[in-house]
């Protein structure tokens, strides 16, 4: 099955491991990821702070490229990119004043009016709905039995639910279902849908780090050994940035954070190194007998 | 006990109270606004359709304020004081401009001027609106405007116990902080009662849970008269079964009432105005249809919006659409909305003149639904309640300013202990009647006997039953003995107020032996101008309601037959 694929800047940059792992498991699952032609940054979470119309235009450009490639869906591994494209398309449809501005911009760039022909989707939605949990389970060569994984959703994947549309914003279970498929034990925790604080890193880092720490602590308090999340930017915030959190809160523990396809990749038999994981995660998994 | 002194105390944080508060504060006087809820929770927020206004240069070219007054007078079945109606019409345009200047985001015409639409009983379209949440938007506008005054202090979630009098002068009121049950004496020489309506004494009402006639109750107990308390409006389109209001805006925008045969039955009862005839006429027609078996099972009729199209419905009637969807599970663009009449408005109220002054007690004023000026007479037209609250809220505010300039606060503090003891008695008593039982009985009696169709037997029964309930209420007690936001105590105090007000309503209704506007007597089905073209004035004296009369003020319109 071919899927239009929007990697997003982070997964082609310092969250490269998100892309690495996603590409690996996609191949195993016979998903052919067709990278969106000449895609651009969606500006998710920031460009709409500068200028809503520019933001919407940038996102619609990607969606038009997907349409030209002949697809009506675009999958991304990044919740922020997902949210960005979905909210932009929603505003374009429902805000006539914004639409007028956007249409002019698209025209200036010799592009057409967007006809809402492409649905943005999260890569995990494709996994659950199109590939199927059972099918994923069949590919598991190394069940991660006994490992307790905090299942984190974050904000952008779920909210606003009337725009995102895949699952309940308060009682989601997509990540849990995927974690269960790997044989690991999913652990729900109170702050599973709270924000990791990444968007505040560019303006108010102390509070951003506090929020990240809240997530990690909440997962740990419920007995998680590791955390799994669905977002390239959560990955930046919860993986390497943990060093900063440790310093700020003088903490002596770490909770290794994996991107969801990294965990699935592990169960498919790939090594932590092949999946591009950070040293902290590699070391922890080694201590649990996984390498 | 805590005591604070102000120039004016205002009971009620709805539109009338806040308008007056803004006016009095702008003149430099200190104001306390006392409400059992945070001001934006007041029932004004529930007014949906709009506010009627003749605006010079922005109205139908054929319209003028006299047409508007005429509509009010005829709509109110000639019980309207015509000078009051004329004042209301004359000031309608400027009050809307003032609200606009204070920030109310009225819907606009393409050229940027304030938009307008038709409402029931109007000769020309005059209703100005803010989507279909006009009341909420205006309430927020006035509340937010008031946050600019340092001399307005809010006592939110304070429950009024009674008025404090010294001789024939107002000397403030006593209230109780709901969170702690601590009493507070708020002393002032001017007291405005702007506490809204009485809906909760009816089993079916569009009113908020908080509308329990508190202001009218404390007024009656202080020897202040209620005028025309027999006149109660039943709104035609309460959503079945929750009685949530489906705004008249729906019919103004073209919705049609239909019976179980699919007939537009209003053609029979109001061959010219159809579904937009005044509310008393539509509600009675609906009741007849249901009574004669042409309603749907469960006792309701259909409000058909389907021909308006989904987009238009959502744009113009968002609240009605949402209400039908959320509270009755009906998509109004695909199905008819189930509706039935429900209590909606109290035309009667504290007896005041066109300045908002009551003459029973020196220093007492009233405005809005708690008052009876009377601009609505025997039946209120749609879009006129919001108008009354702000026009008369401002008139009364101005009157209070003049009063405050020429009067000083009473020097002595009154003894308020008996007021507080009476409230605490409900907690101290260990056995007796429970408020829940009394309230439910009252709600049934009022709906069944003092409702849309009335007669001597029903009303006489109501009077005797309410009399009995009032006796039983003297031994009311509450099971919750804590002083920690004891809502049970406040429910008991509300029941006391509702019973006092209901008693005057039923008595006055039994007394008025004619049919006029919303007061429909099966045994006297005609209007009787010869004997009954007069206001009822009721005082509560112990177990007795004392009735007297006041003439209706005429300026130019002679009574005529009321057909639509």
């Amino acid at each position: 099955m071919k899927v239009a694929y929007y990697p997003g800047c982070a997964s082609h940059g310092i969250a490269k491991d998100v892309d690495i792992a996603t590409q690996l498991i996609a191949k195993d699952l016979d998903l052919e990821l067709m990278e969106v032609d000449d895609w651009n940054c969606c500006g998710g979470g920031f460009m709409d702070d500068k200028n809503e119309a520019v933001h919407a235009s940038l996102n619609l450009r990607n969606l038009e490229k997907v349409e030209k490639m002949g697809y009506d869906k675009m999958a991304t591994p990044c919740s922020v990119c997902l949210n960005s494209h979905k909210v932009a398309a929603d505003k374009y449809e429902n805000d006539p004043v914004l639409k007028e501005d956007v249409d002019q911009r698209l025209k200036d760039a010799n592009m057409e009016e967007y006809d809402n022909g492409v649905e943005s989707e999260h890569f995990i939605w494709v996994l659950i709905r199109d590939v199927g949990i059972e099918n994923i389970r069949k590919h598991v060569k190394r069940p991660l039995t006994g490992i307790k994984i905090g299942t984190y959703y974050g904000c952008q994947l779920l909210r606003p639910s009337n725009v995102m549309g895949f699952e309940s914003a308060f009682n989601p279970h997509s990540v849990m279902d995927l974690v269960a498929a790997t044989g690991a034990t999913p652990v729900a925790f109170p702050m599973k849908t709270a924000c990791c604080g990444f968007p505040l890193m560019g303006s108010n880092p102390p509070v951003a780090l506090k929020m990240a720490n809240n997530i990690l602590s909440s997962a740990r308090n419920e007995g998680s050994e590791m955390l799994v999340h669905p977002c390239s930017l959560c990955h930046l915030q919860l993986d390497v940035t943990q060093d900063k959190i440790q310093r700020q809160f003088k903490q002596d523990w770490r909770l290794p954070a994996l991107y969801i396809t990294q965990l699935i990749g592990l169960s498919f038999g790939y090594t932590p190194k092949q999946l591009g994981m950070s040293k902290g995660s590699i070391e922890y998994l080694r201590s649990r007998g996984i390498s | 006990m805590e005591k604070k002194e102000y120039d004016a105390v205002i009971l009620g944080g709805g539109l009338a109270g806040l308008m007056a508060a803004n006016i009095v504060a702008a003149a430099g006087f200190s104001v306390a606004v006392v409400s059992k809820v945070f001001p934006t929770r007041s029932h004004s927020a529930a007014a949906e359709g709009g506010i009627a206004a003749y605006m010079m240069g922005n109205s139908d070219p054929n319209d003028d304020p006299d047409f508007m007054s005429y509509d009010e007078v005829k709509g109110g079945d000639y019980l309207v004081d015509q000078d009051a109606a004329e004042l209301l019409s004359k000031k309608s345009g400027e009050i809307v401009s003032l609200l606009d200047a204070w920030g109310a985001p009225f819907n606009r015409q393409p050229d940027g001027r304030i938009a307008l639409r038709y409402f029931g009983g109007q000769t020309y379209p005059r209703t100005r609106f803010i989507a279909d949440k006009t009341g909420m938007a205006l309430l927020h506008t006035l509340f937010e405007h008031s946050t600019g005054f340092k001399n307005i202090e809010y006592y939110n979630e304070y429950y009024v116990l009674d008025i404090v009098k010294e001789g024939n002068n107002v000397n403030g009121l006593v209230a109780m902080e709901m969170k702690t049950l601590n009493p507070i004496y708020l002393k002032s020489r001017a007291l405005l009662i702007a506490s809204g309506g009485i809906g909760m004494m009816y089993k079916h009402t569009t009113n908020s849970y908080i509308n329990t006639g508190d202001g009218q109750g404390i007024a009656l107990r202080s020897g202040v008269a209620l005028k025309d308390p027999e006149f109660v409006q039943f709104h035609p389109t309460g959503l079945y079964p929750s009685d949530i209001l489906i705004s008249e805006a729906a019919r103004a925008e073209g919705a049609i009432l239909k019976n179980n045969k699919g007939e537009r039955f209003m053609a029979k009862y109001a061959p010219h105005k159809f579904d937009l005839a005044p509310r008393d006429i539509v509600s009675r027609s609906m009741t007849i249809e249901i009574r004669e078996g042409r309603g749907f099972e469960g006792g309701y009729l259909g409000l058909d919006l389907r021909h308006l199209g989904k987009k238009y419905i959502i744009e113009r009637l968002a609240l009605a659409y949402d209400a039908a969807k959320n509270f009755s599970g009906v998509d109004a663009s695909e199905e008819m909305i189930p509706v039935r009449p429900a209590q909606h408005y109290f035309m009667g109220g504290i007896d005041v003149d066109t300045t908002g002054t009551n003459h029973d007690l020196n220093g007492i004023f009233s405005a809005g639904e708690s008052a009876c000026v009377s601009v609505h007479g025997a039946n209120r037209l749609g879009s006129n309640s919001l108008l009354e609250t702000v026009v008369y809220g401002r008139e009364t505010g101005n009157t209070m300013v003049e009063f405050l300039k020429t009067h000083k606060n009473v020097e002595t503090n009154s003894n308020v202990e008996p007021i507080i003891d009476a409230a605490y008695a409900y907690i101290k008593r260990e056995t007796g009647e429970h408020f829940g039982v009394l309230t439910e009985e009252l709600r049934d009696i009022m709906w069944d006997n003092v409702g849309i169709f009335r007669d001597n037997d029903k009303l006489a029964e109501a009077v005797s039953k309410i009399k009995d309930l009032r006796v039983r209420a003297r031994s009311m007690y509450v099971t919750d003995k804590t002083s920690n936001y004891n809502t049970e105590l406040f429910n008991a105090l509300e029941t006391r107020n509702m019973l006092d007000v209901a008693y005057t309503m039923a008595t006055a209704a039994l007394n008025r032996k004619e049919t006029r506007g919303a007061h429909f007597r099966d045994d006297f089905p005609e209007r009787d101008d010869k004997n009954w073209m007069k206001h009822t004035i009721t005082y509560l004296a112990g177990d007795e309601v004392k009735i007297s009369y006041k003439p209706v003020t005429y300026t130019r319109w002679k009574p005529e037959v009321r057909v639509y």
């Binding site: 982070a10 | 809820v37 934006t40 985001p105």
Partner: protein
């Protein structure tokens, strides 16, 4: 009408006994609102039950609480739609605000935030004197009304993660209110309002929780983003806005020149050399430093990007 027996578990609270759960059974039909459920519990089973409710049609904002863990208005919640497979519903008071009694919380902190944004229109003097009329396009009215629809229910603030961690954040509702006036052509205090709101706007983490829980669809987070759109016009400087300016300008510049974001450049420009170096050391330690040199291709058709990003139309 068909009725079903349901169990309502309510987390009660009073000063003397603290918090405890209590269950009530009653019958409900498919129209029964949670406000009606509470009213009936109070009048038939437990008169001491304390909660706020007024209009029961979602315009007064009184009956805010958590129903099955979801910040909700009780009146907007139909009992039979909210029950779980065992026909149970859990009801508790809102998060964040101090509890007073049962479902009643003290939301003064919410009101205080609202008061801080000068929540009133300041029209031109000539309008107040009645010398001039105000006009407003229908489009402007629509947008102002969207953000004015807030009913002070407090749900967004109770659920906001930034409010909990940052006292200086005004919170979603106050921002929607504040922006409603910035956006109103009739108002005369735009620059004062930006002074009140801009720093706080950058304390929002854009998690869309307020958008999710708002019963009026006010979308406060969008109001915050629209406020940030005015950063270029804002003359003031706070540590927060200085950093945000650097960050957002860098993002914009990167997209304008390459069509994509390079996080490493962004870190360097936003946090400055020192902090970026600390990050680099963390990256080195984690073994991910190599990703900092990942070089994705720039967008090929940069003309499209540049033309789209041109001046506001």
């Amino acid at each position: 009408m068909e009725e079903k027996e349901i169990t309502v578990n309510i987390k009660k609270y009073n000063d003397k006994d603290g918090a405890f759960w209590k269950s009530y059974k009653l019958k409900a039909d498919k129209y029964t609102q949670m406000t009606e459920v509470l009213r009936r519990i109070k009048s038939e089973q437990d008169p001491s039950l304390a909660y706020r409710a007024s209009c029961h049609m979602a315009v007064c904002g009184s009956c805010s609480m958590k129903i099955n863990g979801i910040p909700s208005l009780a009146c907007r919640t139909i009992a039979l739609q909210a029950v779980d497979e065992k026909n149970e519903i859990n009801v508790e008071s809102m998060d964040y605000y101090p509890g007073v009694r049962d479902l009643i919380t003290d939301i003064d902190v919410f009101y205080d935030k609202m008061y801080k944004v000068m929540p009133r229109l300041i029209a031109d003097e000539s309008v107040l004197m009645g010398e001039n009329e105000q006009r407003m396009t229908p489009e402007n009215q629509t947008e102002v009304w969207k953000f004015q629809e807030c009913i002070y229910c407090g749900l967004c603030v109770s659920a906001c993660p930034s409010v909990k961690e940052d006292e200086q954040f005004l919170g979603p509702a106050a921002h929607a209110k504040g922006f409603r006036f910035i956006d109103d052509v009739r108002d005369t205090k735009k620059s004062e309002r930006l002074d009140l709101l801009m720093d706080s706007a950058y304390r929002c983490t854009s998690c869309y929780m307020c958008y999710e829980v708002c019963p009026q669809d006010v979308q406060p987070v969008i109001a915050i983003k629209k406020t940030k759109n005015y950063l270029d016009q804002y003359k003031g400087n706070t540590p927060i806005t200085i950093m945000a300016r650097k960050h957002d300008d860098t993002v914009e510049n990167l997209i304008e020149t390459t069509g994509k974001i390079k996080e490493s450049t962004l870190f360097l420009k936003t946090f400055g050399f020192g902090e970026a170096m600390r990050d680099a050391i963390d990256m080195l330690k984690s073994g991910k430093f190599k990703y900092a040199f990942e070089k994705d291709s720039n967008v090929k058709n940069m003309n499209e990007i540049k033309n789209m990003m041109g001046e506001k139309k």
